[in-house]
């Protein structure tokens, strides 16, 4: 465990060194985050108007903004910590350079997952926190400490869910040559997570809870932060995440067995 923490530290350091090498990326990512924040918030203004419209049933403008804050924050986590390493795997498989990862005496899934971080994407996390501040200002009171703690637990669970979904997509790259379309598809579907799940019809809601658990990623943490998530739902989310992560691990291990490398 200690060795893996050291390795994680080293990989983060390497990504940090790379980020320092391309320091203008900070500016670009900052602008992208601002733009992304704006595009995430504008639809809410369309739905809620100047406050005269009903908006989403059961969600005030401030409360819906909390969901958007989670969406922006998770997008930052996805782009900064999950995507870069796993996108690199697809390239590794195509070029056959995954050989070097598989030859290392450490868990291959760990090595590829932590191989690359897009450090400057931390700006999206900051943007998410800013949205939270605005949202709770609109609501009129701050979240309780216990609710923040519960949403923190759900943040870990949401990150693990996102990661597991990506592992499943990346595992497909061992069987089919191009998985780019799958990654675009996932990115498009993930866009739906900007809305509270109650905006969707019942069937879609069910799919987004049990099949592609977007609800668990943004709506649940938002509800936890607002202090209205039932403890059973929290527990269910954690168990569901554990099952998802286990399935992703099994699929990854099987996929590695199908690795055929590339010609020399």
């Amino acid at each position: 465990m200690r060795r893996y923490l050291t390795l994680l530290g080293l990989q983060l350091r390497t990504s940090g060194l790379l980020a320092a090498q391309y320091r203008w990326d900070f500016l670009v990512d900052g602008v992208v985050s601002l733009f992304f924040m704006a595009t995430a918030i504008v639809p809410l203004f369309v739905v809620y108007g100047d406050g005269s419209r009903a908006g989403i049933p059961g969600w005030s403008f401030g409360e819906a903004l909390v969901v958007t804050g989670w969406f922006i924050l998770l997008q930052g986590v996805l782009d900064g910590a999950v995507n870069p390493g796993l996108q690199a795997v697809i390239e590794h498989i195509r070029k056959g350079t995954l050989d070097f990862v598989l030859l290392k005496p450490a868990d291959a899934q760990f090595l590829v997952s932590t191989s690359k971080f897009h450090v400057w994407r931390v700006t999206s996390v900051v943007a998410g926190l800013v949205v939270f501040a605005v949202a709770f200002d609109r609501i009129g009171h701050g979240p309780r400490l216990v609710d923040v703690a519960a949403s923190g637990v759900l943040l870990v669970s949401a990150t693990l869910l996102l990661y597991s979904l990506w592992i499943l997509i990346v595992s497909a790259a061992f069987f089919v040559v191009k998985v780019d379309n799958l990654t675009y598809l996932f990115s498009s579907i993930f866009d739906a997570a900007r809305w509270p799940s109650s905006v969707f019809p019942k069937v879609v809601r069910w799919v987004f809870t049990f099949v592609l658990p977007l609800t668990l990623m943004t709506t649940f943490p938002a509800e936890a932060m607002l202090g209205r998530l039932a403890p059973q739902a929290l527990l269910g989310a954690l168990v569901g995440t554990a099952v998802f992560a286990a399935v992703a691990r099994v699929v990854w291990l099987r996929a590695i067995g199908h690795y055929t490398s590339a010609g020399g």
Binding site: R3, T6, L7, L10, Q11, T14, L17, L18, Q21, K95, G96, T97, D99, F100, L102, L103, K104, P105, A106, L111, G257, Y259, T260, S261, G263, G264
Partner: protein, 330 residues
């Protein structure tokens, strides 16, 4: 150290004739064919041996190497390296081996090689004092100097390859798998790499398997060669035995004090080349003394050299023979 028995690696590949109709048809009904990349090879390698894998493109050399490294699972047969079954990819085993591929790189592209070395140190769990000592040795042997602190993308191919070797040796492996490590390098850099590899083998006693299309690599490094062709083993033994077996003739190069004609040289033996004041003859092994004596007596010879035919020619003949044998059998 390495034992391979009846190793096979077969791939099932989709076969489709050219054309749109065939492409559409293949969407619904596919035909598959089995490619026998490795088809029942057996050999054993002792600790500290340097062995060259030879064979034309697609012969199965890299597949065998990758199977030994544990990257590919054999279709059948047994493989053991230092008591380990490679495909299990146990950490203990992976710490004993290294694989360098001339056409692929593990160095972090945008960062100096020193960062890759440090990362590998942590992955292989090499104690800091051992790491420092080994890097010092490698740096001296490979003359790395300040290269390790320049971003990899700024290094030349030769410099990068030296750093690749160093990165692969951070953990002091006992078995070295080298897949065309000198590909694309200039002649002087090839010599540097060969010297380093030989010295590493002599000082550490590491076992070494090398594949290369440069026959000079094989001649300089590998007293023993294993020839693989179309997935089967066609020769296993000393390099000079292989040469004698395929081309028992010697090459006699004669240099003269003045130009000679083809007619003057032809009576001595089979003429490979005759240009100006130099001629190259192909002479059977037992005739060398007689031919040299006749040449010295009848022509203005100022210098002569007797050697084996170039290894490239030997291999080319070997492969064309086996191709002919296969075609006959077919």
């Amino acid at each position: 150290m390495i034992e391979v028995r009846n190793l096979t690696k077969h791939y099932r590949v989709h076969k489709r004739p050219p054309g749109l109709a065939a492409a559409v048809k293949s969407l619904f009904k596919r035909e598959y064919t089995t490619v026998k990349a490795v088809d029942g090879i057996t050999f054993a390698i002792k600790p500290g041996e340097r062995v060259g894998f030879l064979g034309p493109n697609g012969a199965g050399k890299t597949t065998t190497l990758k199977t030994l490294a544990g990257l590919l699972h054999p279709s059948s047969g047994e493989v053991r390296v230092d008591g380990h079954v490679p495909q299990k990819r146990e950490a203990e085993y992976l710490k004993k081996i290294m694989l360098v591929m001339g056409q692929k790189q593990q160095l972090l592209w945008d960062l100096p090689p020193a960062e890759t070395f440090e990362l590998n140190r942590a992955i292989y769990d090499v104690p800091r004092p051992d790491f420092v000592r080994r890097m010092k040795e490698l740096s001296e042997l490979l003359e790395l100097g300040d290269l390790v602190n320049k971003p990899t993308r700024q290094l030349s191919l030769g410099e990068r390859m030296k750093c690749e070797l160093a990165a692969a040796l951070v953990h002091g492996p006992k078995v070295l798998f080298l897949d065309e490590p000198t590909i694309g390098l200039d002649v002087s850099m090839q010599v540097v790499m060969r010297d380093f590899i030989r010295r590493y083998n002599e000082t550490t006693g590491a076992t070494l398997i090398l594949t290369s299309h440069y026959m000079d690599d094989v001649a300089a490094l590998c007293p023993r060669v294993i020839v693989i062709d179309k997935g089967t083993l066609s020769f296993d033994g000393a390099l000079d035995v292989l040469v004698k077996q395929v081309r028992p003739d010697k090459r006699v190069t004669l240099r003269f004090s003045q130009p000679v004609t083809l007619e003057q040289v032809t009576p001595l033996g089979q003429v490979v080349r005759c240009e100006g004041a130099q001629a190259v003859l192909q002479v059977s092994h037992d005739q060398v003394n007689a031919v040299v004596g006749r040449a010295l007596a009848s022509l203005p010879v100022v210098d002569l050299n007797v050697e084996n035919p170039p290894l490239e020619e030997v291999m080319s003949e070997l492969f064309s023979r086996s191709r002919a044998t296969r075609e006959q059998a077919a």
